[in-house]
């Protein structure tokens, strides 16, 4: 019986057994032998008494005789199966003088798990109790595991709700950072911003320059959600310094250095920084950002492809800015890649140019409405990336 000892058997004393038999001699004999094996044993003199004892104090194992006056073994099993509380386990061993297949089948149908023929072979009963004990133990482990899982699930759900509330608050404060559409020196601007999961890594702003010009930036910090948003908010301040200095390369270098220092998580951003002077000259520094579009007043779109690498990705000099004429009525479109790549049927660069062309005679706010409608129509589900667009017009 080495295999019995080596198997992960629960200690018998942890398993409670209820023995039901109307023959007092047989009943006490079985009870004494089971007790000698180390199980906790109670006895009942018929089905009725066994049912009452089981409902008062639920046993792990029921060992019951088939034929008893009043409620017989089969009725007792049915009754207890019907009254078994959810999550409770009961292992039933039926004792029967008949080893006919029909009798055993009837016992199994009523809810017995095992049967032992009478007269009793004690070794046979011992084996039945051992396997019952193992099942009782497994059932207990399963139940404890389920309870732990349920508690973990509840904690996660609460944590998720709290995080979501925090994210909503963060999203609201991030939206407050976005500029109101307005006139700023020589330019007028309007924008569209659809963050992918409440808060995003896209950020843009417009600020006046000494001497009557304006500065604008549009950046996309790698990643989405809280880390990207925290980084873009931190960079916001640094970026606005270019409005005062007018030195786009210096500002871009600062941003790049900040991100390079944070080497642990490969953080970087793509960026477009633009200076507008009152005489209609645009200076544009483009760092890995999707090619800005320049729409001339008389028609014609130029994709401003030139530029350099994203900031903070590789320690190389930041790109040289371009200088372009930006005449009254000309428009500059700065956007994140989400605008052209996002959705089930992405807008694409051709779609972007078509939409710019179609809306060229419209007011800026109407242009933005057109883009918004196009994105809502295309997104087909939650956005997989932040989408933002900043449109700037020389309004002189």
């Amino acid at each position: 019986m080495d295999w019995l000892r080596s198997s992960p058997l629960s200690r018998p004393s942890q398993v409670s057994v209820l023995v039901a038999d109307d023959d007092p001699i047989v009943r006490e004999l079985i009870a004494a032998q089971i007790e000698a094996l180390g199980y906790e044993v109670r006895t009942a003199e018929d089905g009725q008494a066994a049912a009452a004892a089981a409902l008062a104090n639920w046993p792990d194992v029921l060992v019951t005789d088939w034929s008893m006056p009043g409620m017989d073994g089969i009725e007792l099993i049915r009754h207890l199966r019907a009254h078994c509380a959810p999550g409770r386990y009961l292992h039933v061993i039926l004792m029967t003088t008949s080893s006919a297949a029909e009798a055993i089948g009837a016992g199994l149908a009523a809810g017995a798990d095992d049967y032992v023929p009478k007269p009793l072979d004690m070794m046979r009963l011992q084996l039945g109790l051992a396997s019952a004990g193992r099942l009782v133990q497994l059932q207990g482990q399963l139940q404890r595991k389920n309870q732990r899982l349920e508690r973990a699930h509840n904690r996660l759900r609460d944590a998720y709700r709290m995080t979501r509330r925090d994210l909503q608050a963060a999203a609201a404060s991030q939206r407050r950072l976005l500029p109101d559409p307005r006139q700023e020196g020589p330019i007028r601007f309007d924008w569209l911003c659809l963050p992918s999961n409440l808060i995003g890594g896209d950020l843009f702003d417009v600020a006046p320059r000494p001497g009557g010009g304006a500065f604008a930036f549009h950046i996309d910090v790698a990643g989405h959600g809280v880390p990207a948003a925290l980084r873009s908010t931190f960079l916001h301040d640094r970026l606005l310094r270019a409005a005062g200095s007018g030195d786009l390369r210096q500002t871009a270098t600062e941003i790049s250095d900040i991100l390079l220092e944070d080497a642990a998580d490969d953080s970087y951003c793509t960026a477009a920084l633009a200076l507008f002077d009152p005489q209609g000259v645009l200076t544009l520094l483009q760092a890995g950002h999707p090619a800005p579009r320049l729409l001339r007043r008389g028609g014609g779109i130029t994709a401003l492809e030139e530029g350099g690498l994203p900031l903070g990705l590789i320690d190389v000099p930041v790109p040289e800015p371009l200088t372009l004429a930006f005449e009254p009525g000309d428009r500059l479109f700065l956007y994140s890649d989400g605008l052209v790549d996002c959705g089930s049927e992405p807008l694409g660069e051709d779609g972007l140019d078509a939409l710019i062309e179609e809306s060229s005679a419209l007011e800026l706010s109407v242009v933005i409405d057109r883009f918004k409608a196009a994105m809502v129509e295309r997104k087909g589900g939650p956005l997989s990336d932040d989408v933002s667009l900043l449109v700037i017009e020389n309004s002189r």
Binding site: H224, D266, Y268, L309, L313
Partner: protein
């Protein structure tokens, strides 16, 4: 959910990492970083095979460049089998200027051995 992002093998002194995940994005990037740094060990020549990758997002791109930087400036890093979306992303971000790219694994391997 827990399938590996990478398969790694050594071809002499070159560590070849093949990305198994079809999407190298924000959810795959942390495991990509961990598995790549374990697989490359002290190798100074790395080929990253992207033939099975359909999509790389900005976070995936950061992880990929992070791997490139881990062997810079003395090591060799070659990208193999970049698909349409990845090629477009690398050209939009101008990273195609600083990356060694080859159309397939065997060409990438011979370049990494040079």
């Amino acid at each position: 959910m827990n399938a590996p992002v990478l398969a790694a093998e050594r071809h002499d002194e070159v560590a070849v990492l093949s990305v198994l995940a079809p999407r190298l994005d924000a959810s795959a990037a942390p495991r990509f970083r961990a598995e790549a740094s374990e697989a490359t060990g002290d190798a100074r020549r790395i080929v990253l095979d992207l033939a099975k990758v359909e999509f790389v997002d900005s976070t995936g791109l950061g992880a990929l460049i992070g791997l490139m930087k881990s062997v810079a400036p003395t090591g060799v890093f070659v990208l193999a089998g970049a698909g349409r979306q990845v090629t477009k992303l690398l050209s939009a971000t101008k990273l195609d200027r600083v990356l060694n790219m080859e159309p397939d694994l065997s060409q990438a391997l011979s370049r990494a051995r040079r």
